[in-house]
Amino acid sequence: MSRTQSQRTRQSHVSRALAADRLGIPAVLFFVLAGVAPLTVAAGVIPTAYQTTGLTGIPAAFVAVALILALFAVGYVAMTRHITNSGAFYAFISNGLGRVAGVAAALMALLSYSCLQVGLYGAFGPGAAAEAAVHLGLHAAWWVWALVAWALIAVLGLLRVDITGWVLGVLLTAEILVIFAETVSGLVHPAGGHIGFGTLSPADLTSAAFGTFGVLAVVAVLGFVGFEQAPVLAEEARNARRTVPLATYLALGVIAVVYAGASWAMAVHAGQGSVVAAAAQQGPGLLFGLGDGLLSATAQFLFLTSLFAAALTFHNVVWRYMYALGRENVLPAALGRTGGNNIPKTASLVQSATGLAVICAYAAAGWQPMTKLFFWLGTTGGFGILVLLALTAIAVIAFFARDAHGEGAWCRLIAPALAAILLALIVVLAVLNYSTLLGVGRGDAAAWAFPASYAAVGLVGLTWGVMLKIRRPRVYSTIGLGAHAATGQLAPAAGEVRR
């Protein structure tokens, strides 16, 4: 072989080797779906939403929200190609609307994911208590089981992520199979002997009033949380330009079909006019009752593992956010340091402490865990994600307005603008109807306190962002860089000259 040929062979070797390591569509899709925990939504969120809101348009809401998120994803994945740390909402908002807004978004995202994580203990506790009483003869309060789950998650959160990732994958597959079987079983046994399509009708989205759509959309968004994660793997995906969008759209499609199907089957099985009453009476049993015997028992067991897996996944999401913000020095640097096994122990422990405080507070106050912890905090987390989605859509428009980066008008303007309008409308409707979402009276403090918490956190973030800009320009210059903060900190800040 001549020297030139030899060099050419070696030349292609590095690129080929790196390409072989990159992830394809199935791997990215699996990564996204592994964080979704479908039974948590199908058996936990959907029946509680039927019960608390008294609305029946949930199946239609899943389809409608999937379409809006597909529209949102057009600009989202387009912007992914041009920024680092994609996958974190605050990175998009930092790049689009400025770093001050990025800090506010980061704190709002932390609050959202933390609400989603902590709320799950409110469903796990009662579920585990009921199962233990029936099958093991153990009688303990819900918060005892919630604390058991909390302790396990606190420990697993300090272990290596690849172990838990494998477990989450197995659970995901089992959950989707069980939901599919329950859905088919429910549709085969409809109330009154015929299958009704009323709950899938767009008219059901605004059945009570136009504002009903905002309430239903918040519930539906809860089911889709996690779909935004595909861009996290953009730098490791094979042909990211194709893989990330495809994985995102496939994830949206799978989630929409699974949840719309399951919630529709519940309404068909119980009857559209009776599904709200049945949900109030049966709770998660509304899904389990679609099947019989072994299927129902398997679903009940997997519901607990699903809740546990979801709590663990969101625990990991929260510490990842804290770690990225700690690396950027936006939050205390201790959160951005890893322990002996590459896990940010401080960040993980902070989230564990938050969970412990909330469980203890609910136990001490004697508040109802399923509605007031699981559903209230869960939907409040979902509401926060909705706000972030709306802000991100606006950020996409602002980002491409400065430089089109070769993207077409559909990707950089039309789709993001439509998504921004629809998402902003949902946010406004949700705020106006938050009492319906929580199932409380209009004057109840919870109806304004939960959405107002995001305004308060956003204000704190804006103030902190301005302070960083004035006092610590080097830190300010790396906001939104995430993993690239280390190299970003080497770059000269505004006003500095690099020698």
Binding site: R10, Q11, V14, L18, V161, D162, T338, N341, T487
Partner: protein
């Protein structure tokens, strides 16, 4: 024959730091160690004057050739192909663990020990625990403003911290060791600072994308 002074090569020292001095058990995820060792292999070339790393991560090869065989093979690759340092870290990380272990085995610092269990792979075990612990002492100088530190020692400490070995290293330093380490790394040549930052970025990337 293993010596307390070591081989004088950054990757060898980092390998020994990343594994238990008696059992050879890794302290970090294998991918994170791979990235750290990849950074260390490139650092050896920078210290030998064989390559330069530019701001924003560009890499260019010079004429000087290092005496070590593994370092020469890495240099040969860098000479034939142009990639940013992030790509080189990703590429070298795939095989750096085995490559460096074999180099240490040739120098009689580690030996391959079979596992008692059929489902566990064989493990490289240090021949002399004192020699395996010595790199930590060399890096320790970077944590103490009162001690003289070599460029190789500062680079080793910086890379160790970047790939996640901070908790292993810092307890051996005095109060304020972290600040001292940051300051020592800041005083390194721009090539080495860029390399350490790129190694940190690669490790953070693995962490945030759930690959470690």
């Amino acid at each position: 024959m293993a010596r307390l002074t070591g081989t004088g090569l950054v990757a060898d020292d980092l390998y020994l730091m990343a594994h238990h001095e008696v059992t050879g058990r890794p302290y970090l995820h294998r991918r994170a160690i791979g990235v750290g060792l990849a950074g260390a292999l490139l650092a050896e070339l920078v210290l030998a004057g064989s390559i330069r790393i530019w701001p924003e991560g560009g890499v260019s090869a010079g004429r000087l050739t290092p005496p070590d065989e593994l370092a020469r093979s890495v240099l040969e690759l860098v000479r034939t192909e142009r990639h940013p340092v992030a790509d080189w870290l990703a590429f070298l990380a795939r095989s750096a663990h085995g490559d460096v272990a074999q180099r240490l085995e040739r120098q009689e610092y580690v030996t391959l020990a079979g596992s008692r269990w059929p489902w566990r792979s064989d493990r490289w075990v240090p021949v002399d625990p004192d020699c395996a612990f010595a790199p930590l002492c060399r890096a320790q100088a970077a944590l103490d403003p009162g001690k003289p530190v070599t460029v190789a020692g500062a680079t080793l400490a910086g890379l160790a911290s970047a790939c996640g070995l901070g908790p292993r290293l810092l307890p051996y330093g005095p109060r304020g060791a972290r600040r001292c380490l940051d300051e020592t790394v800041r005083q390194l040549a721009p090539d080495l600072r860029e390399l350490i930052a790129q190694t940190q970025t690669a490790t953070d990337g693995l962490l945030l994308s759930q690959r470690v």
